[in-house]
Structure formats: structure tokens, C-alpha cells
């Protein structure tokens, strides 16, 4: 080893060490952190909801009818009124005074056509006022009044002291007038002599007679119910161009337990949700009078039902539906035994006539241009973390409807800040339907909604959202469609958004 070799070696190794000790990072105190702002694409909503699913969310038993085939009908049932025997006051038995007969008297029954009266109350009262003194026995008999098959008879002693009164309860007795008359006998025996006698100023009074059941020829009688009405706000604010339901129907249902012929008339009118269109219900039967079914003599206590069905062919129901009725007023007129028939009938103290209405609107028909507008309170989620967002909305509509809508974002003063779409958008694209109006192929619509940072910032003061929509049935409301349980709508929503650097 010589010196030059050592020097060379030293130089080379020094260079080696210098290279190895080079600083790798300069100025690390001045490194600026990057801003992480990824652009993410995420699915937000992917849902499919059928009418059946939706019905599972609410209690629809009271207003929706589902056929075994899955066809849907809206139903409405409501009791309108209940008229009882006491309301009608068809039969009222006045008090019957009878002067002390000379052993027997025939009494005309006040309601001559009746041939059977089951009394639930009533008394036979004997009043006397006399100057005679002594002890007497009074013998009474009313052979046409039976209680358990036993004719009414009574004997009672009277110690005459000037005036007095004796009563007998007739509850439970059945009176059976013959040709409108009752035979009544009363005799007085002087107990001191055993000789038939008489009393001055003595009389009998059949008083407070009330029936549980009467039978016979019920008289003709007219009755009018109070006017009544039903009001609903459900359709308030809706407007439409046309509504043509395929087969709407409504039924007036009369349940009658009066055992007599009854004719009923109904006057009804509807007011549309525009507040001024009034349509009287047009139906010849109801306006001219309908004879109700009634129970026969052997059907006491039973109700007979009479249904008057209104449909498009026998009424103006379609016109009424088309005005979106929100008010229904009605008044009933009742005539008992309207033809004055001699046919025997009956009434009990519990006889009643119940009147109800049942409307059934199959969800089948044409709806054109139903306009809905609703404003709801809304507070949008915090948008601070989002730089910009592009939403992709796909609607797959297999409901037999089409709808165009706009959604407005409002501030607290109801001023429009922005709208979701540039113009009214077809949010429910029209599906294809077959000749029966059933959906065959869903309508699909895709929306691309872009919100840049400035636009998002403008939405920050949103306090309300106004939804304005125009709805028609599929095909522009020009062909009837049918709603079915399986009809559904699919909504898919995704977003591409730039996450703001935090």
C-alpha cells in the first residue's frame, strides 16, 4: 500500500460518506397539507313500493275494498239516521173514560184499525163520588183483555164514604178489540143485602195505555226527518279537468223492523269542492218514493233490508263524483201504509228504520288534470360538508297514473328560493296499459339534477317546500285505467357529490 492509494481511498470514502449523509428532505416545516376533497358516488334510495305495501302502512279497512282479484275500490259507509216508533208516533192510545155501566158496556177502541195491543203499561181506574153509605162489592170483567190466556176480571169491596178511587194495573195484558170495540162489564153488589145496586157518579178510566206491540191496519201517516249533512275536507283545494269513473255506485240502505208498508223519499244534494257547484241527487226511485220491505207478522223483531243502488245508468252519480263533492245534504220523507191498505201489520215499541249510505268507487276510470298543491314545513340537512351535488333520480312507475310536478324551496316569507326542476317535470311517467286498463309496462323517467355549491348555499334558508303536481291517469286521462293491489312505483336516487375539505 502506498500513500497515493491511501489518499485516493480516503477521498473516495469521504465522498461516499458525504453522499450518504445528504439531507433527504428540505423545508419540511413549510409543507402545505393537501385538501382531501373526494368526489363520491353513492346510492341513496332504492325502494319499490306497491299499493299493497303502502296499504300495509295504514289502516284501510274502513275505506278500501280489495277484491280477490286484487282490484281496488274506495268504499264509504255512514249511518244517516235511525227512526224509531216513538219518532213516528204512529200509534197513540188516548185515555178511555167509561161511565159506570149498567152491568155491561161496549167501548169503542180509539185506534179502530188495531186488533191486538200488547200493553207495556196502563191502568184501569175506578172513581166514584156518592152520598150513599154502606159496603159494596164491585165485579169487573174485560174478556177481551187477556194475560196468560186468562181474561181480566176483578172483584173488590168498597166502603163508601163519599168519594174514592181504585186502580188496576193492566201491564202485560193484551187487548183484542173486535171490530174496534171492547166489551166491559161492571156490577155492584150491596153486601148488606146481597142485592145488585148502583152508585151515583161513578166511572172507569182506561189510562196511560202504551203498547209493546200493536197489530192491525196501521193508518197512513207522513213524517219528515230533520235536514242533515256530511262534510269532508279531504278533497279541498283539488282541481281537475275531468274525472270519469268507470262504475261508481252508491247504495242507500234501509233496515226496517216496522211490520207495515213504508214509502220513503230522499232529497239529497252535493256541493263540489269549488264551493258553489251544487248538484241534486238525481234518482227517480228516491225522489218519487220507494216502498220498503217490511217484516211479516211472524217476523216480529226482524229487520228487512231494502237497498237502493245508484249508479251511472240510473242516477247522476258520475256527475256528482266529477265535482269532487265535499258536502252532502239530505232529508228523508216517510209515509206509513201509503196506499191505506187494509192489510194487517204490526209495530212494536222497538221498531226502527235505519238509513245508511254505502258508496263504492272502483278505482277504475279516467282522471284528467287533478291539480294538487301542498306546502309543508321543511328544514334541509346541513350542506356545509358538500361542495356540489348531482343527483340521479330514476322513477319506474307501474301505477296507472302520470304526474308532472314541481317542487319549490321557500323561505320563511314564502318567497321562492329555487325549484327542483327547471320546469314542470314528468315525475310519474305514464306506464303502458292493456285494454282493461291494467298496467303492463312501467314508465321510466330519469332525472339528472345538478346543484353546484352556489345553488346549495342558496337553499340553506329553506323553511318550506311547496309541492305542485298535476295528476292524470295513464294515457293523459283519456282512457280508463284500473288500480290493482300489485301496482307499484320504484324510486331510485343516487348522488355524485364533492366532499368539501374539512
Amino acid at each position: 500500500m502506498n500513500l497515493s492509494d491511501l489518499r485516493l481511498s480516503a477521498v473516495v470514502f469521504s465522498l461516499w460518506i458525504w453522499l450518504a449523509s445528504c439531507s433527504l428532505i428540505e423545508g419540511t416545516d413549510k409543507i402545505i397539507a393537501p385538501e382531501w376533497s373526494p368526489e363520491v358516488a353513492l346510492p341513496l334510495v332504492n325502494t319499490h313500493i306497491s299499493i299493497e305495501d303502502a296499504l300495509g302502512l295504514v289502516d284501510t279497512e274502513d275505506y278500501l275494498l280489495i277484491s280477490p282479484e286484487g282490484d281496488l275500490s274506495l268504499i264509504y259507509e255512514n249511518g244517516l239516521t235511525r227512526i224509531t216508533a216513538s219518532d213516528l208516533a204512529l200509534i197513540s192510545i188516548p185515555n178511555i173514560p167509561v161511565m159506570m155501566p149498567d152491568s155491561q158496556v161496549v167501548i169503542p177502541f180509539p185506534v179502530a184499525q188495531l186488533n191486538m195491543i200488547h200493553l207495556k203499561s196502563g191502568v184501569l181506574r175506578f172513581d166514584y163520588q156518592t152520598a150513599q153509605t154502606g159496603s159494596y162489592a164491585i165485579h169487573l170483567a174485560l174478556p177481551q183483555a187477556l194475560n196468560g190466556g186468562v181474561p181480566f176480571s176483578a172483584t173488590f169491596p168498597v166502603d163508601v164514604t163519599g168519594k174514592g178511587s181504585v186502580s188496576y194495573d193492566l201491564k202485560g195484558y193484551s187487548l183484542a178489540p173486535a171490530a174496534g170495540e171492547l166489551t166491559f162489564s161492571a156490577t155492584i153488589e150491596d153486601l148488606s143485602t146481597g142485592i145488585r145496586s148502583a152508585l151515583d157518579d161513578a166511572q172507569f178510566l182506561f189510562k196511560n195505555l202504551d203498547y209493546a206491540y200493536v197489530e192491525g191496519q196501521i193508518p197512513t201517516y207522513a213524517y219528515s226527518s230533520e235536514k242533515d249533512s256530511i262534510h269532508s275536507n279531504l278533497l279541498k283545494g283539488m282541481t281537475l279537468k275531468g274525472l270519469r269513473l268507470t262504475n261508481p255506485s252508491a247504495k242507500f240502505i234501509f233496515d226496517n223492523s216496522f211490520g207495515i208498508p213504508i214509502e220513503i223519499t230522499a232529497l239529497a244534494s252535493f256541493r263540489g269542492n269549488d264551493g258553489h257547484t251544487v248538484l241534486p241527487l238525481g234518482h227517480d226511485g228516491l225522489a218519487g218514493g220507494v216502498n220498503l220491505a217490511y217484516p211479516a207478522l211472524h217476523e216480529v223483531g226482524a229487520f228487512q233490508r231494502t237497498e237502493i243502488t245508484l249508479n251511472q245508468s240510473n242516477s247522476n252519480l258520475a256527475d256528482i263524483v266529477s265535482v269532487l263533492p265535499e258536502y252532502f245534504a239530505y232529508q228523508l220523507g216517510i209515509v206509513s201504509n201509503p196506499n191505506g191498505n187494509a192489510t194487517s201489520g204490526f209495530i212494536t215499541d222497538s221498531s226502527a228504520l235505519s238509513v245508511s249510505i254505502s258508496a263504492e268507487v272502483p278505482l277504475e276510470g279516467e282522471l284528467e288534470g287533478l291539480v294538487l298543491e301542498e306546502t309543508v314545513e321543511a328544514e334541509l340537512p346541513d350542506m356545509d360538508k358538500i361542495g356540489a351535488a348531482g343527483f340521479k333520480l330514476i322513477v319506474e312507475n307501474a301505477l296507472p297514473l302520470e304526474a308532472a310536478a314541481q317542487i319549490y324551496f321557500l323561505n320563511e316569507y314564502d318567497q321562492v328560493l329555487d325549484s327542483l326542476f327547471e320546469a314542470y317535470a314528468e315525475i310519474l311517467p305514464s306506464p303502458s296499459t292493456d285494454v282493461n286498463g291494467s298496467v303492463t309496462n312501467a314508465g321510466t323517467q330519469t332525472f339528472l339534477l345538478s346543484f353546484d355549491e352556489q345553488r346549495l348555499a342558496g337553499l340553506s334558508s329553506t323553511q318550506k317546500i311547496r309541492i305542485s303536481a298535476t295528476i292524470s291517469t295513464a294515457g293523459g286521462g283519456q282512457a280508463p285505467v284500473k288500480f290493482r293491489l300489485s301496482d307499484a312505483i320504484g324510486i331510485k336516487l343516487g348522488v355524485i357529490t364533492q366532499i368539501k375539505p374539512q
Binding site: 500500500m1 502506498n2 497515493s4 492509494d5 491511501l6 485516493l8 481511498s9 473516495v12 470514502f13 461516499w16 453522499l19 450518504a20 445528504c22 433527504l24 428532505i25 423545508g27 419540511t28 416545516d29 413549510k30 409543507i31 402545505i32 397539507a33 393537501p34 382531501w36 373526494p38 368526489e39 363520491v40 358516488a41 353513492l42 346510492p43 341513496l44 334510495v45 332504492n46 325502494t47 319499490h48 313500493i49 305495501d53 300495509g56 302502512l57 340521479k392 330514476i394 324510486i491 331510485k492 336516487l493 343516487g494 348522488v495 355524485i496 366532499i499
Partner: protein, 436 residues
């Protein structure tokens, strides 16, 4: 200094430990250092000049990140003296498949004894390898989000392998005429392993409403190191100098010396495997997770909705299981084909082509070298290599002979010292031999 800056310094420091060049990761300088007995590590057919060479403890370190360099990540802010972390720039410089590799070879002792036409060698040392591969799309997804991958199935499967083993080698070299042949058998003792044997994961973002679907098919294997279960990671590791993991490997080499000036050589190195059975376990995670969006109708039908339950139900689609079981890993096998030419005695020119086969990937390189004996005690050489389509790899190697003591060092990536910020790979070897 803020916490963020400290983190960046740590990151940059790690990146500087991994100056990055290409996928090739083998040292070429050693191939052109005939006086260092360690050259039998690249071809067991190489014979030493001296009768006896004793290799004292030495260290070789290599690190690679093919994705980007430090300077790809940091850029100067014009008009200031600040640097800005440019993640987008770093991603732009990535390739579709990026790897991070580290290799440490600590040679404890080595010896060669030459007797006539035969040379016997023995060595002992420890090797540590680390390997991580990740697709550029994974970095893009993490930094840019998935909006740029709509209607695409994007691979997001990182792959990794960490192993350490002892290596005890015994070799022989024979010379017959112009030919030299060498073979070296190695007994391996696996210290620990944690690696992925199957890595498939992809994210698909639908173009409809951006529904997400992630498919996962992973199999991990571990020995001695216990990562815990996949759904409840709890890494545990206790170093043990010896384990029940055994393996074997072989090095095979040929050299043909056409004359005193020209020779050719070829070798296959590390052809072998380790069978891991000590605390060995197989961990699997398979399944498909799909998020199609919230089913509002279903939510409305329920009394309440808990988003965490949704996450749980999605994750439940991933089936995870861990079972005890042995497995085997192959060593990174290399081949070298090269030659040297000595126009004069003190000058050697050479070239080598090499490939490495590891985890289904091939790492190639081509290097040329010139080394010169500068006097009797110093030998200096330079290498230039083309590695994975990068042409800026200049290396140096030095050998200092101080009597029987031989000091040596080498690197194939001088630029990682000169311009560390632009480098993606670094390697260095330093050691000392005693020769007689």
C-alpha cells in the same frame, strides 16, 4: 411544528428510506465484485481469488417503492419556499400495479475455502423481506373518490407478504477446464410469516344510481406472528430465534471462461421454499357486499331504523374464518445471465441480465459495469442498469483491501443519494471480509 407536519415528515422520511426506481430489486454491483466472496450469493460458480475468505458480519439493505418518489408527492409552491403535498401528482406517477419492497440481509458469517479446482463455502445469515402491492386504483379511490369509476369494476386489493428466516448454506464449486459449476444448499428456518395467498377485492359502482358492490376473496396466512381474527385483529408476536418452520433452497451456477479476458455465467438463486407449520393459521374472508340504497318502503314498515344495523347486515355478508393449517411459501427466485470482459488485467467490463420471480410477478433488469483496480488496495466500479423501463440507475461499488482485511460497499442507485427526492429505490451493501 404542527402534528400534520410531523406526520408528513415521518411519511417523507419513510419515503426517503424507500427511494424508488423500478420493480427490479436485486443488487447488480455484487455481480461485478469478484474480490468479495459475497458474490457467490449471485452465482455459486464464482471462485474466490484467495484460498480462504472469511466474511464477517455484513448488511445489505434494499427498499423500493415503484409508485412514486418523494418529489412526486411534494411540489414547490410557485413564489414561496413552501412545499405542497401533491397527492394527485403522486397518483399520476403511479402505474397500474405498484409495489413496495424491503429486503434486509444480515450475513452473520461466511467462509470459502479453495482447494485446487474445488471451493467449499459455508454461510449463515438472516433475511427479512417485506412486500406490499397495491393497484393505483386503490389510491385513486381513496383520494379522488369513486365518481371517476362509474360503471367500472375497480381492483382495490392490496397484497402483502412479510417474512423472516434464518439461512444456513453449504456450497461447493468445481472447476473443470473452462467450466466452473457451483451449487449451494440452504437450510432455512422460518422465523415468522404473515402474507396474503389470495388477494381479490374489487369495487363496482353501477352507472344506474351508483349502487356499490364490493367483492372480497382474501386468504391470509400467518406463522409465529398471530394477527388475531380478521373481524377482531389483535396482533401478537414474540420473537423466537428458532421455530418449527423449516425450508430448503438451492443456488445453482455455471461459469464459462472462454479465455483470461472473457467469461460468461448463469445462475439460479434461491430456488426453494419454507414450510410454515409453527403456529400456522389460514385466515379467509370472502363475500360480496352490496349497497343498493336505502329501502325507504322497508324502513317505513319498521317501527324504527338503525343505520348501524344496516352496516352490520352488510358486513355480515363477508364470511370470515380462521383455521389452523400449514402452508408453504416460495422464496423469491432469481436468475442471472451475464459475462465479463477484461481488456487489461486491472479493468473489468461486464453485463448481466437478471430476473426475479416472486408472488406471480417478474422483476427484470439489465446492467453493465466497469470496475478498475486503482492501485493495489482500492477497486472501484460503476454500474449502469436499466430496471423496469427506468434508465437513470447509476451505481458504484468500492473495495478496499487493507492487508488481509477487505472492506467493501456498493449501491446500484447512486441517484438515491445524490437526488434522493427523485428516487424510488435504494440499496446498499457494506461489509468486511478477511482473506488469505
Amino acid at each position: 411544528m404542527t402534528m400534520d407536519k410531523r406526520i408528513y415528515i415521518i411519511i417523507c422520511g419513510l419515503l426517503n428510506l424507500l427511494p424508488l426506481a423500478g420493480k427490479a430489486q436485486q443488487e447488480t454491483g455484487l455481480y461485478f465484485m469478484p474480490r468479495a466472496m459475497q458474490n457467490i450469493q449471485v452465482n455459486p460458480a464464482f471462485m474466490q481469488e484467495k484460498t480462504v475468505s472469511i466474511g464477517l458480519p455484513s448488511i445489505y439493505f434494499h427498499a423500493l417503492h415503484s409508485g412514486f418518489s418523494y418529489r412526486d408527492l411534494l411540489r414547490e409552491v410557485p413564489g414561496t419556499d413552501s412545499l405542497e403535498v401533491d397527492v394527485a401528482g403522486a397518483i399520476a406517477s403511479m402505474r397500474e400495479d405498484n409495489v413496495v419492497r424491503t429486503n434486509v440481509r444480515a450475513d452473520l458469517l461466511g467462509v470459502t475455502v479453495k482447494v485446487g479446482p474445488m471451493q467449499v463455502s459455508a454461510s449463515a445469515g438472516t433475511r427479512i423481506t417485506g412486500f406490499v402491492a397495491y393497484p393505483r386504483s386503490l389510491a385513486q379511490l381513496a383520494w379522488e373518490g369513486n365518481a371517476g369509476f362509474i360503471d367500472q369494476e375497480v381492483s382495490v386489493a392490496p397484497e402483502f407478504a412479510f417474512s423472516a428466516w434464518h439461512e444456513i448454506g453449504l456450497g461447493m464449486t468445481f472447476r473443470r477446464g473452462k467450466f466452473q459449476a457451483g451449487i449451494r444448499g440452504k437450510y432455512l428456518v422460518g422465523l415468522a410469516d404473515f402474507s396474503v395467498s389470495r388477494a381479490e377485492a374489487s369495487l363496482t359502482t353501477s352507472d344506474e344510481i351508483y349502487q356499490l358492490q364490493m367483492q372480497i376473496n382474501y386468504q391470509l396466512q400467518s406463522s409465529v406472528f398471530d394477527p388475531g381474527s380478521l373481524d377482531n385483529p389483535d396482533p401478537q408476536y414474540e420473537f423466537r430465534p428458532f421455530t418449527g418452520n423449516n425450508g430448503i433452497a438451492g443456488d445453482f451456477g455455471l461459469q464459462y471462461k472462454m479465455n483470461d479476458k472473457l467469461s460468461f455465467s448463469a445462475s439460479v438463486i434461491d430456488l426453494g421454499f419454507i414450510k410454515w407449520k409453527d403456529q400456522a393459521a389460514i385466515h379467509e374472508a370472502t363475500g360480496t357486499v352490496s349497497f343498493e340504497g336505502l329501502d325507504v318502503a322497508e324502513m317505513l314498515a319498521q317501527d324504527s331504523f338503525d343505520i348501524s344495523l344496516l352496516a352490520d347486515s352488510l358486513l355480515a355478508e363477508i364470511k370470515m374464518r380462521s383455521t389452523d393449517g400449514t402452508y408453504q411459501t416460495d422464496l423469491p427466485t432469481r436468475i442471472y445471465i451475464g459475462g465479463t470482459f477484461s481488456p487489461i488485467k486491472s479493468l473489468r467490463l461486464g453485463g448481466v441480465y437478471y430476473s426475479e420471480f416472486y408472488r406471480g410477478r417478474i422483476f427484470n433488469g439489465l446492467a453493465v459495469s466497469a470496475s478498475k483496480d486503482l492501485g493495489k488496495i482500492l477497486t472501484a466500479g460503476i454500474t449502469y442498469s436499466i430496471q423496469d423501463r427506468r434508465f437513470d440507475n447509476l451505481g458504484v461499488n468500492l473495495l478496499l483491501k487493507l492487508g488481509p482485511v477487505l472492506l467493501y460497499s456498493s449501491t446500484d442507485h447512486l441517484s438515491s443519494f445524490l437526488r434522493p427526492g427523485y428516487s424510488r429505490e435504494v440499496n446498499a451493501r457494506i461489509g468486511m471480509n478477511v482473506v488469505f
